[in-house]
Structure formats: structure tokens, C-alpha cells
Amino acid sequence: MIEIKDLSFWYKKKSKVFESLTMTLEAGKIYGLLGENGVGKTTYLRIVAGLLFPNEGSCVVMNSDPSKRYPSFLSKVFYLPEEFEAPHQKADEYVRHVGPFYPNFDYNQYAAYMQEFGVNGQRKYSEMSFGQKKKAMIAFALATNTELLLLDEPTNGLDIPSKGVFRRLVARAADDAKCIIISTHQVRDLEFLIDPIVILERNNVLLNQSVETITRKLKFDVVAKAPANALYVEPMMGGFGVVVPNEDGEESKVNIELLFNAAIANRAQFAEWFK
């Protein structure tokens, strides 16, 4: 679905955002894109969407060059940025005008999603709160049924019940032909949704692995006393949350926050383990 090879990108040549980035993302998965502030998660999504062009290397998405912004490419991609300009019109009006540009757009689906989120499409975007606007845009994004869905911090601004609705709708929308990339800091909101997990670090990718591969190599646990071989230890209710090498082959549930912190604290080791 997405083939990135030796890609370099910079706003200023002296401080590159990506340097020789190489990675492949496949269809049929919901990728969680994680990374510290400023590592380039949004830039990455914008390059894939064709809004930014690589300075070096190549980015091929669904056999197209995104930077050409061909209609055949754009009709298969939906990018929902973290901050967006809601059009000055009613949500339903906007959708009726823009929806037909997407060949697989389904208005009934959109209406059903809006209902699940509890948003009235007859209201103008300007009359909606930030969270309501976001829900309306998520409903539209999912109803376009594009093969590639890029969501930048989609749960920011959503209330607790809506986060649940979001997870449910995304899980329902995912199929073998679609690739969904969700960039987020709110990992707990999406813990059971995202797989594989991609962790970006400055200039490159630190981790791009399925949950299964991660749990085969690492074990996540809450213990009373931190073991000596722990890669990461964090005090929490009931003892210490730890990430340790999975030496006994026992499966555990991934704690994405612990995984992320462990990866940041053990960059070289992670790079070696998850080559």
C-alpha cells in the first residue's frame, strides 16, 4: 500500500525531519503512529497524502506518486488533520457537495455514523463545538470508504463515549483492502484498535511491528518488585509496570505507553531486536 524508500525531508536543510527513511505499510491493517512531539508524525502523514513532497527518495502510495495529486489517487485517500477548517456551511450540505468526489462514498453510512456520534448534520459547522466538528468529519471520513485513511490525533477533543464510538466505527470500517493510519498521543484511547505499532524517532523509524511480534519478544507486566533485566519500569497502582524481554515465551497484553517509553529509553536495543 505504502512504499517509502530512502526518503529524506526537511523544512530547513540543517535540521532534517526524515533522513533515508525506508518503510512499508500494508493494506488490511490499522497502524498506530506514535512518536515524541516534533518527530514528524504529521509531516509523515502529509507526505503520504501528497501535501508535502519528499526532498530525496521516493514515496509510492497505491502505485501512485502522491505529490502529483491525481484524482485517481486523491479519491482513494482521506486525510483528517488534527486541526482543520470546518467549512462555513451545514455538515450535510458540505457532505452532499464533496461526497460525490469519492466513488465509494455512501451517504446512508454517513448519516448512520452521524447518528451514532449524536451529531445533527443540519447544523452549521460554525455552530458546533470542536468535538462535534471532529465527530462530523470522522463520520464523513469513514463514509468515503477510501482505501487509505489518514487520521491525525482523531480522539483529541472527543468526549469519553465518543471515543468508544470512534473505536467501534473504525474497527467496523476496517477490511482487508483498507489501510488506516492513526497518529496519536492518546494511546490508551486506541490500545485495542491499533496493530501494528509504528514508533517514529527523529529522522527515522524506531519500530514498525505487529502486536504479535512485539509480545513474542517483550513481556508487559505489573509486579511488586522491578526485575533486574527490566527495560523499563514505571510505578503504578499495585506495584511497578515493567517491560522485560520475553524469555519464557509467555504472551502478555501490550501496554502501549510502557512500550513507547521502553523504546525511547532503549533505542539501540529496540533497533537491534526489531530489525
Binding site: E85, P87, F101
Partner: protein, 237 residues
């Protein structure tokens, strides 16, 4: 799927943009109508068509800034850039609105003004566009001015208006200098070639004038329309 041009997609863009810009269009109509009414009430005895034309020119020239100022905004421009249509189709919709629709609104208001003047005050406004007279130059000048705005809107990410005005200023200055040099040269109406003085044939001067006009029309507006298209294609956000 045709990746370059589809009439259906272009109409869809036009429809959705006209709907999205309806407030700006309304502003145009109300502003021009208010101006028209003011003219009718204050100058009905000696209404000069040029007075209305000046407002029309200004509205036509600033139209690209009114409609497309946020086209490359990092947040506001995303919906436009991600709309599944080719850059050419987006540009055609941009061109049609600026070059056809806005001037048509002004022209319709002009007709209303003329008719109202005739109906209420029985004063006809005799104004016909003569393509062989100075009107041709004026119309091409308006289109040229608007083409500069179109190129400016599509070329700059930020401070579009100020940067475009700056370029116009520099260009005008250069043109003034060239014209001065030209006049200085041809005031003498003669060339020195190998020590001999030759009078310049007036025919040559007229030929040169026509030639320069063609070049100018090729740049303003045609060349600048092309610039606006290519700039749209290469913009990132």
C-alpha cells in the same frame, strides 16, 4: 479515471466552490449594488459610465484575493488540496470564477444601472464597448491586472496581497524606466549607423507598437494565467 480533465468533476468543483464562496459573492453583489444606488441618487444628471467602470475594475482585480486567499494555508487549505480533482480542473474552476463569473456579475449590475437610470430618470447611458478604441486596451488592462492577482494568489503562501503589490510596484518602475529610455531614443527619430544618421520610418514605429502589444497580451493575461496554473501544481502545505 481521467487524471487530467473531466467536465463532470470541474462542474462539481464549480458548484461546491460557488456554494462555499456564496458570502463573498453576496458581498460583491451588495457592495456593487450599493455603489450603483449611490451613483443613481447623487449623480443622475451627469452620470459618467467610467465612474462605475472604476469600481468594476477594482472588484475584478481583487477577486482572486477575496476568494482564494487561504488556498495554501496549512490548516484552511487542506480540504482544497485533498479534493479528488486534478490541479487543472481546480485551476479551470478558479479561472471561470475570476474571469467569467465575477465580471458577469459586474456586467449585470451595470445593465441594471443603465436600465434603472432610464426607467426612473429617463436618462439613457450611452456606453458601448468599442473593441477598436481605447476600450480594448482598458479591458485587456483589467484582465492583465487580474492575471497579476491570479498569479500572486497562486504563487505566494503568505502575505499574498503585499507581495503582489510589491511585484507590481517593481514591474511598474521597470516599465517606466524602459518607456523613458524608449521615448528618449525615439524623440530624435533617428539612428546612427556607421556614422550615418537615418530617420526612422513611422511605419516601423507603428509595427513595433503592435508587436509590443502582442507580446504584452501574451504575458498579461495569458502568460500569467499559465504561471498561476503551474504555481498551483507545485505548492506544498
Amino acid at each position: 479515471m481521467n487524471d487530467i480533465f473531466s467536465l463532470q468533476r470541474t462542474f462539481r468543483i464549480l458548484k461546491s466552490e460557488i456554494f462555499a464562496f456564496r458570502k463573498q459573492y453576496l458581498f460583491y453583489a451588495i457592495f456593487a449594488a450599493a455603489y450603483t444606488a449611490t451613483l443613481l441618487l447623487t449623480q443622475r444628471t451627469n452620470l459618467h459610465p467610467e465612474v462605475f467602470a472604476i469600481l468594476g475594475c477594482i472588484l475584478i482585480v481583487i477577486a482572486p484575493f477575496m476568494l482564494y486567499n487561504d488556498i495554501y494555508h496549512k490548516i484552511k487549505g487542506v480540504n482544497y488540496a485533498m479534493l479528488p480533482a486534478s490541479n487543472f480542473e481546480k485551476w479551470v474552476a478558479f479561472w471561470i470564477q475570476n474571469v467569467i463569473i465575477i465580471p458577469s456579475i459586474i456586467a449585470i449590475l451595470w445593465l441594471i444601472l443603465s436600465e434603472a437610470n432610464l426607467l426612473f430618470f429617463n436618462i439613457p447611458i450611452n456606453f458601448h464597448i468599442d473593441w477598436k478604441s481605447a476600450h480594448k486596451v482598458a479591458i485587456m488592462g483589467i484582465l492583465g491586472g487580474q492575471a497579476i492577482s491570479m498569479a500572486g494568489v497562486m504563487s505566494f503562501r503568505r502575505l499574498k496581497w503585499i507581495k503582489t503589490m510589491g511585484i507590481i510596484f517593481v514591474f511598474q518602475l521597470a516599465l517606466l524606466l524602459i518607456t523613458r529610455l524608449f521615448i528618449f531614443q525615439f524623440n530624435f527619430q533617428q539612428y546612427m549607423v556607421q556614422g550615418h544618421a537615418f530617420n526612422i520610418d513611422e511605419q516601423i514605429v507603428w509595427w513595433m507598437k503592435d508587436y509590443i502589444s502582442i507580446v504584452m497580451y501574451a504575458i498579461f493575461p495569458l502568460g500569467l494565467w499559465l504561471v498561476s496554473f503551474f504555481k498551483l501544481q507545485e505548492q506544498e502545505m
